[in-house]
Symmetry: C2
DNA sequence: CGACTTTTTGACCTAATTCAACTAATGTGG
DNA sequence: CCACATTAGTTGAATTAGGTCAAAAAGTCG
């Protein structure tokens, strides 16, 4: 069974088996990082590119008055910082939300990837494009939707992404977020997030318990939240991929 | 005097004079597009990369209930769609806000640029990284700041960007935005934008008139809006660049 | 068991929205 | 160049979504 990283790249490009094997070998060596640890800090200039193999992380930035805005969740298979080579320093922080297994890709590995494995390079580039598209969608979310719809949209997105790396069980998946983290994602107060979650729960749409989310009817949640998955650019329809991946 | 496109790339990388000349020649042929025209529509798969040589444009997306979120302003020197080669189709629309002069870079031009002009290629890549960073900053803006601060932050950013391409006159520059457009950018109602602008005006911070903005004291506006320009990654301090560019 | 964090709820407050009207611009055709 | 139509900006009044403060439950963990 391929790891999430391989699954993710595979959802953008059909991968040859030697590419899969190479990916498996370069991401085999992982280190464990506890929850709530900074992986890369604002101002750092990290050497290696990190990949979340397992666990949850986030990107965020603080304002000068101490408010925090989270602008991405990193789930298994996601990259931390493809771009950092060019920028002198990180303009935001990446931190774990739960214990994570993290693979480090050295500059040499990235070089081999970009120069000798074109389909992986394309998949990698796709990742950064999708990150951008996701950010745009989040802006739409914050700018245009009410609290409950906003939260529901986030959940729809996370469900879609988790499904793409094979980490859902129907509408259920791991989601180790506190309401404070949700509120810093959504530009809402904790109290209001709490009440909105209650509303969603009472509407029979979603419930959170024990770091897991349960979506009773995924399609209904997507309809409710006006979720259109096309911005995630997942090229291969879910069922196809799942069956093709049995090894 | 170099055009905005050359100035912009030059603000990321020191450019050799042959690179400058080449840029001038490939961006010499422009077409004129009137105000309020779509340059690229959601769903399109455009061949060429467009560069705004003159005028203002925006990126936006509609929600299914007819609300619009603007998530970028394109000012002279900005690219429309470096990435589109890989994605099957645009996931948002780009439209002009004022009459624009637009240069089209053919796939061949882009190829030459990426393969034979490394410093331009780096500058180009920087552009897309900065676009991403800007988007993140906008998310912070929508998520964490009150209406007047939010608007002030946008104005601070636009001032900085316009300055980088030599289009400011102290705190004054062209800004052909309606309040409706501002409201769709900021996730606010038109009425509230109007009142917030009044507040900023009465505080002596900014005034808008005749498609121009006047910032009486740029530093004061930046302080007010908690603006930190580092996310724009403008490598060369403004004064240096200006003097170096006298031809 | 305490100490601490997270969730939940109530009461109250305020930033922002909505609706509606009115004024000031801008533009268009005769 | 004016009359009329249309778009953009401004203001007031009423309403609401969301925030703040405070405190109680409910989990979590050494």
């Amino acid at each position: 069974m391929p790891n999430a990283f391989i699954r993710k790249l595979g959802s953008f490009e059909p991968l040859r088996s030697d590419d899969r094997e190479w990916l498996a070998s370069v991401s085999a060596h992982t280190r464990l990082v506890g929850a709530d640890q900074d992986l890369i800090r604002e101002g750092d200039n990290p050497e290696n590119v990190l990949v979340i193999v397992d666990g949850f992380a986030m990107r965020y930035k603080m304002t000068s008055d101490g408010r925090r805005q989270i602008f991405a969740y990193l789930i298994p298979g996601d990259f931390c910082d493809l771009h950092v080579a060019l920028l002198r320093k990180m303009d935001h922080t990446i931190a774990t939300l739960s214990p994570c297994r993290v693979a480090q890709l050295s500059p040499g590995t990235i070089l081999e990837l970009t120069e000798r494995r074109p389909s992986l390079a394309r998949a990698l580039w796709m990742c950064s494009l999708v990150d951008g598209a996701t950010l745009r969608e989040w802006l739409v979310n914050l700018g245009q939707r009410s609290a409950p719809h906003r939260i529901a949209h986030l959940f729809s997105e996370l469900h879609e992404r988790m499904k793409a790396v094979g980490l859902t069980n129907d509408g259920t998946f791991e989601l180790p977020l506190t309401q404070a983290e949700l509120s810093d994602t959504m530009g809402l107060s904790v109290v209001h997030v709490n009440r909105s979650l209650k509303e969603l729960r009472e509407a029979g749409l979603v419930s959170l318990k024990d770091e897991r989310i349960v979506i009773s009817d995924v399609q209904r949640l997507k309809d409710y939240s006006d979720f259109d998955p096309s911005y995630l650019h997942l090229r291969w329809p879910q069922d196809l991929r799942t069956s093709a991946q049995r090894s």
